[in-house]
C-alpha cells in the first residue's frame, strides 16, 4: 500500500499526554515504518493503550506531534484518519450481520454497492470466514468475532491497522492459533500493523519490532531477538522472559572486562554487551536456558563464566527440566530442554555440589549499580 514515499507510517514526536495531574505519556518519540508489525508492550498503565488511542484519534494529545504518513493529524477526528482499529472486545455492531459489519466502513466512504459486495467477499475470504455473511455477531464464537473485527477494519484498506490487545479475550489455545493467523494476514495484506499487548510471548511471536514501555516512556525498541537477548535495562530483562540477575562489580583493568561477584568469583563478560564501559557496581543478566549445570565445568578454548554451588531443586516440567542452584552469589535457575532419545539423570544432582556455567556471549550487563535483591527473579512468565 505504500506509494514509495519515505515518510514513516506513524511518527510521534515528543508526545505528552496528561490526564489532569497524571502523566500518561511522557515525551514519547517513535517512528513506525510502513509494513511493520509493530508491538507496544508493557505492563498495565505503561501508556501503551493511550498511545494506540492517540493514533486512532480517540484521545487528544496534550503536546507534541502525531503524523500519519507524513501528515500532521493532531486534531483530526477518528472518522477522518486513515487508520482503523480492532477493538479489544471487537465492538461488532450487534444489529448487523457479519457482511453488514464489514460493509459499514465502506458504506460510510460512499463506495458503490457492487464494490462493497466485492470487498466484503474479499476480506471475509482473507480471514477465512467465507460464507459467514448472514450470521449475526451473537452467533459467532470469540475467534470468529475477532476475525470479523479484523476484516471490518482491513476492508477500509487503512494505512495502519491498530489492534488493542487483540487476543486478550481468547483462551490460550485459540490465542496461539490466532497468533499464527495474524502473522499470515499481515504478510498477505502488507499493511502496517500496530498492536498493543501485555503478553510478552504474543509480542515475541508476532512482532517485527517491539517497543517496551513503562511509565509513559519507551525503555527499548528492537527486534524480538534484540529485546530478548540484549535487554538494555533490568526492567526490560525482567519483563520479557525469565532472567537470572547477579549483583557485583564491573572491572576493566585486565585484558578484557571482568564481572566480579561480591564473594570474589570473577566472570568474563563480552565488551559491548550492555554498558561494559562504565566500571563499578553493576548487575549481570543471564537467561535460564543459557545456564548449564553439571558436576564439573567444561574446559574449552573459550573462557566460560563459572560459579560453584549446590543443586537445591530439580523439577521435571515435561518438555524441560528446571534446576535451581544455590550459590554464594545467589540463587540461579537453569533450564534444560530435553533432547529426544536422551534420558538425562538430572534428578541425581539434588543436594550435590555442582557448577553452573555459561558462555559469556549469553550474558549482558543490564544495570549500573549493585542491586542487592539478587536471587531467583522471574519475569513476565
Amino acid at each position: 500500500m505504500s506509494d514509495g514515499s519515505a515518510a514513516p507510517a506513524i511518527e510521534l514526536v515528543d508526545v505528552m499526554k496528561r490526564y489532569g495531574e497524571a502523566v500518561a505519556l511522557d515525551g514519547l518519540s517513535l517512528q513506525i515504518q510502513a509494513g511493520e508489525f509493530f508491538c507496544l508492550l508493557g505492563p498495565s498503565g505503561c501508556g501503551k493503550t493511550t498511545t494506540l488511542n492517540l493514533i486512532g484519534g480517540f484521545v487528544p494529545l496534550t503536546s507534541g506531534e502525531l503524523r500519519i504518513e507524513g501528515r500532521r493529524v493532531n486534531d483530526l477526528p477518528p472518522h477522518k484518519r486513515n487508520v482503523n482499529t480492532v477493538f479489544q472486545n471487537y465492538a461488532l455492531f450487534p444489529h448487523m450481520t457479519v457482511a453488514e459489519n464489514v460493509a459499514f466502513g465502506l458504506r460510510m466512504e460512499g463506495l458503490p454497492a457492487s464494490d462493497i459486495g466485492r470487498r466484503v467477499d474479499e476480506y471475509l475470504e482473507l480471514v477465512d470466514l467465507a460464507g459467514f455473511h448472514d450470521r449475526y455477531p451473537g452467533q459467532l464464537s470469540g475467534g470468529q468475532a475477532q476475525r470479523v473485527a479484523l476484516a471490518r477494519a482491513l476492508a477500509k484498506r487503512p494505512a495502519v491497522l491498530l489492534l488493542d490487545e487483540p487476543l486478550g479475550a481468547l483462551d490460550l489455545k485459540l490465542r496461539k492459533q490466532m497468533q499464527v493467523e495474524l502473522s499470515r494476514i499481515h504478510r498477505q495484506v502488507g499493511t502496517t500493523f500496530v498492536f498493543v499487548t501485555h503478553d510478552q510471548e504474543e509480542a515475541l511471536s508476532m512482532a517485527t519490532r517491539i517497543a517496551v514501555m513503562a511509565g509513559g516512556r519507551i525503555r527499548q525498541i528492537g527486534s524480538p531477538r534484540e529485546i530478548y537477548q540484549r535487554p538494555v535495562d533490568r526492567f526490560v530483562a525482567d519483563f520479557i522472559g525469565e532472567s537470572n540477575f547477579l549483583g557485583g562489580e564491573l572491572r576493566n583493568d585486565g585484558p578484557g572486562p571482568i564481572f566480579r561477584l561480591r564473594e570474589g568469583t570473577e566472570l568474563p563478560v563480552v565488551p559491548g554487551f550492555g554498558s561494559t564501559r562504565t566500571t563499578g557496581p553493576a548487575t549481570l543478566m543471564v537467561r535460564p536456558e543459557s545456564v548449564a549445570v553439571g558436576p564439573i565445568a567444561p574446559t574449552g578454548p573459550a573462557p566460560m563464566a563459572v560459579i560453584a554451588g549446590r543443586a537445591a531443586n530439580v523439577a521435571f516440567m515435561g518438555n524441560h527440566t528446571r534446576i535451581t542452584v544455590k550459590t554464594d552469589a545467589g540463587v540461579l535457575v537453569s533450564i534444560r530442554f530435553h533432547e529426544s532419545g536422551k534420558g538425562a539423570a538430572e534428578e541425581e544432582m539434588v543436594d550435590r555440589e555442582v557448577h553452573v556455567w555459561w558462555d559469556p556471549r549469553e550474558s549482558t550487563i543490564v544495570a549500573a549499580g549493585d542491586e542487592p535483591d539478587v536471587g531467583e527473579e522471574t519475569g513476565g512468565g
Partner: protein, 286 residues
C-alpha cells in the same frame, strides 16, 4: 404447578410441606380471583342479553357491540382518545428520548438528582398534577381547556416513563461500538443514526407503546384538564352517572383487549432487545 419441577424442589423438607404448598396455591388462587373477577364480570356482562347487566346471565349476544357502533358521541370520544394517545406517544417519545440522552451523556453535574427530578412525576399523585395543571392553564397560562391541554397534562407523567426506559438502555450501551463506528469513518451524526438509534430503538418503541396504554385509560389528570370534548374514560364516567348500560361494558372490554395487546407487544419488544447477545465480557484490560 409447573411441569418439570426437579426432584430437589418437590422433596418434602417437613411433614407439613405438602400442606403448606397446597395452602399457598389456594392463597394464590384467591388472589387471582380478587384481582380479576370484577373484570371477568364486566367482560361477561358485555355479552349479556339483559338490558340491566347482572346475574343471572340470560343469554349471549353481540347486540351491545352493535349499539356501540351506532353511538356517535361514544365514537367521537374514542376518536379523541386515539388522537390524544397518538400525540402523547409521539411527543413523549421524542421528548423523553432527548431527555434520556441529556441524562446519560450530558455530563450533568448531579446525575442522580436529575434522574429523580425527571422521573418524580410518576410518584406524584395524579390529583395533585391535575389540580396544579388546571390552575396553571386557567390562571397562569390563560389557555382554554381542550384536547391540547389534555395532551400536555398527560405528557407530564408519560415522559418520565420514556426517560426511564430509554436511559436504562443508554446506560448499558457499549460506547466502544460508537468508537468503532467513528473509526470506520462514521461522523458523529452517522454513528447516532446507524448505530445508536437502531440499538436503542426497542427501548424507544417500548416507551411509545407504554405511553399509549397510559394515555388511553388515563382519567384523573384528563378530568382536570379536559375541555368540552371527552376522551373515552371521561365519557364512560359521565355516562355511568346515569346508570350502567351494557354498552359501557362493551366499550370497556374493547379497551381492555386493546391495552393488553399493546402492553404485550411492548413487553415482547423489550424482552427481545434484552435477550440480544450484546457480546462477551472483557477479560483482560490494558
Amino acid at each position: 404447578m409447573a411441569s418439570g419441577v426437579d426432584a430437589l424442589e418437590t422433596m418434602p423438607v417437613s411433614h407439613d410441606a405438602r400442606a403448606v404448598r397446597w395452602a399457598l396455591r389456594l392463597w394464590f388462587g384467591a388472589l387471582m380471583i380478587f384481582l380479576y373477577l370484577p373484570i371477568a364480570f364486566m367482560v361477561v356482562f358485555s355479552f349479556d342479553e339483559g338490558a340491566t347487566p347482572g346475574l343471572p346471565i340470560t343469554g349471549f349476544t353481540l347486540h351491545w357491540y352493535d349499539v356501540l357502533l351506532d353511538n356517535r358521541s361514544l365514537l367521537r370520544a374514542v376518536g379523541n382518545s386515539i388522537t390524544v394517545a397518538t400525540a402523547v406517544a409521539i411527543l413523549a417519545t421524542v421528548i423523553g428520548t432527548m431527555a434520556a440522552f441529556v441524562l446519560v451523556r450530558g455530563g450533568i453535574r448531579w446525575p442522580n438528582a436529575t434522574r429523580i427530578a425527571f422521573t418524580l412525576p410518576i410518584m406524584v399523585p395524579g390529583v395533585l398534577i391535575g389540580v396544579s395543571l388546571l390552575i396553571y392553564f386557567a390562571r397562569a397560562a390563560d389557555l382554554p381547556l381542550s384536547l391540547g391541554t389534555v395532551i400536555a397534562g398527560q405528557l407530564v407523567f408519560t415522559v418520565p416513563f420514556v426517560v426511564l426506559i430509554v436511559a436504562s438502555r443508554l446506560q448499558s450501551f457499549d460506547r466502544q461500538v460508537e468508537w468503532a463506528a467513528a473509526d470506520l469513518g462514521a461522523s458523529p451524526r452517522q454513528a447516532i443514526r446507524h448505530i445508536v438509534l437502531p440499538l436503542i430503538s426497542p427501548a424507544i418503541l417500548a416507551g411509545a407503546l407504554i405511553s399509549v396504554t397510559l394515555s388511553i385509560d388515563e382519567f384523573v389528570i384528563t378530568w382536570f384538564t379536559i375541555g368540552a370534548q371527552p376522551t373515552l374514560p371521561t365519557y364512560i364516567y359521565t355516562r355511568i352517572k346515569f346508570g350502567v348500560t351494557p354498552e359501557v361494558n362493551a366499550v370497556a372490554t374493547i379497551m381492555l383487549v386493546a391495552t393488553l395487546l399493546i402492553f404485550t407487544i411492548a413487553s415482547v419488544v423489550l424482552g427481545r432487545a434484552r435477550r440480544r447477545p450484546d457480546r462477551r465480557p472483557a477479560e483482560a484490560d490494558a
